[in-house]
């Protein structure tokens, strides 16, 4: 709904018809009609009803009972058989609808963002250098620009180098990861060169010596707030394999696994980061929550 309010108002009426935007003046009734093909038992219906109500929504379930009711109504000639309306294709310039997964909650608790995991994973592995690259993609008249943070790690224990990329929430995630398959090696080598020549006077020889000490392990970690289909995943893995790299996509599933580790005490909650025009920066915590450790102790001391 938020997305519709933000984005759809710029859609033009495709055929000059009476299409209108969902303006902010329209009040959301909180009613949501749920059409489902599976048969849900009473307990599932109750669970779903409570879940939707906890989000402030009022669900109306429309399953097989509703289907039979409508079929009988049609059979009794009380209404016409519904006919699919003629659909109008999206205007080419229209933004692709996109669902932002970057902020997720379980049991009312905010999960660590993929950006924060991207910035805090691989602690203790050795040296790390960060940069970003601006990716510009064109699809007809549509142009997508996205800044992609990059981190290159030198694993001092195994004497190898590997790379991690963070793709911010965007409808063009797949295209960006695909595009980076052909350029991540250049990005990594360029960053290595800049790190070796700390004063900015990079020499190819120094970079090559550095590379010799830490050869590329082949590991490429892509942190993506978007999820890819199985076909897309296969295509990406093949593209990176062609560059002698093993792609590991870390998406929402990785967030859940990390969250489970945090809940079991095997890992600390990472510092939250935010995207900037340069490198991601730590988010400043509000004053009231700037002393979480003390707060926890106080809570635990209470009866």
């Amino acid at each position: 709904m938020d997305d519709a309010r933000k984005n759809f108002h710029i859609w033009t009426a495709p055929k000059g018809d009476a299409s209108q935007p969902i303006s902010d003046n329209l009040i959301f009734t909180n009613k949501i009609y749920l059409y489902y093909e599976n048969i849900l038992n009473d307990e599932q219906i109750n669970t779903l009803t409570n879940l939707y109500r906890s989000k402030g929504l009022e669900p109306v379930f429309r399953g097989f009972g509703y289907l039979e009711y409508r079929r009988l109504w049609i059979a009794a000639s009380q209404e016409q058989t519904p006919v699919l309306p003629e659909s109008v294709p999206l205007p080419m310039e229209a933004p692709v609808p996109f669902i932002d997964h970057s902020e997720q909650y379980i049991g009312g608790k905010k999960l660590p963002s993929l950006l924060s995991l991207f910035m805090t994973d691989f602690k203790g592995v050795g040296a790390v250098a960060g940069t970003w690259t601006d990716v510009t993609l064109r699809n007809g008249s549509q142009e997508v620009k996205q800044q992609v943070p990059i981190r290159v790690y030198n694993d001092i224990h195994n004497h190898v180098r590997f790379i991690a990329l963070y793709v911010p929430p965007t409808a063009a995630s797949f295209a960006i990861v695909k595009f980076l398959a052909t350029s991540f090696l250049d990005q990594m080598n360029d960053l290595t060169k800049r790190v070796v020549a700390k004063d900015g006077q990079a020499t190819d020889g120094a970079a090559q010596g550095y590379a010799a000490n830490y050869p590329f392990s082949g590991a490429v970690y892509v942190y993506s707030d978007n999820t890819f289909s199985d076909d897309q995943m296969s295509e990406l893995k093949k593209l990176y394999a062609d560059q002698s790299a093993a792609l590991e996509v870390r998406d929402f599933g990785y967030v859940i696994k990390t969250w489970n580790e945090i809940q079991s005490g095997g890992r600390a909650m990472p510092q939250e980061y935010k995207l900037t025009s340069g490198l991601p920066e730590p988010e400043r915590r509000p004053k009231m929550t700037s002393y979480p450790a003390r707060r926890e102790r106080e809570d635990s001391a209470w009866p």
Partner: protein, 148 residues
């Protein structure tokens, strides 16, 4: 009673009951021509017809009329706008797409997303639909969700 009457009544009852007696009855474009043929055959027992119309002509008329009737019923049932056939295609997906056509604004969108188990393992990649409906008269908007 002429034998044609007996045969006609027996045939009409047999084909009429057939629809209710067996689990998978033959289609209507077969049953109704058979019933019509049985009734027409009964008409061939009328004394004037027996004396003036040869049996071959009667059978030809019965056959022609039955074929005409069967063809007509089959055509009617296969016609897209008739209720008898299209009733089969009414399903949840169609209702989701066609419900709420009276408002000022209706937008349906299809999405795909991955879903995960509580341990973080990927359950699969699934499609779903979201509908947004607005009424500018009542200044209100509501939503729908379609789970295939």
């Amino acid at each position: 009673m002429e034998w044609q009457y007996t045969t006609s009544i027996a045939g009409t009852v047999l084909f009429g009951v057939l629809v209710f007696a067996i689990k998978e009855p033959p289609p209507q474009w077969i049953v109704w021509p058979l019933i019509a043929a049985a009734v027409l055959f009964g008409c061939s027992g009328i004394p004037w017809v027996v004396h003036h119309v040869p049996l071959g002509a009667i059978l030809a008329v019965i056959l022609g009329f039955s074929l005409l009737l069967g063809g007509g019923i089959a055509t009617y049932q296969s016609w897209p706008s008739t209720n008898g056939k299209t009733d089969q295609t009414v399903n949840i997906a169609l209702l989701w797409r066609t419900d709420f056509n009276v408002g000022s604004y209706k937008m349906l969108q299809d999405f795909s997303t991955a879903l995960y188990k509580t341990d973080g393992d990927r359950l699969g990649f699934f499609d779903f639909g979201v509908g947004i409906y607005g009424s500018f008269d009542s200044q209100s908007v509501f939503m729908s969700f379609y789970a295939p």
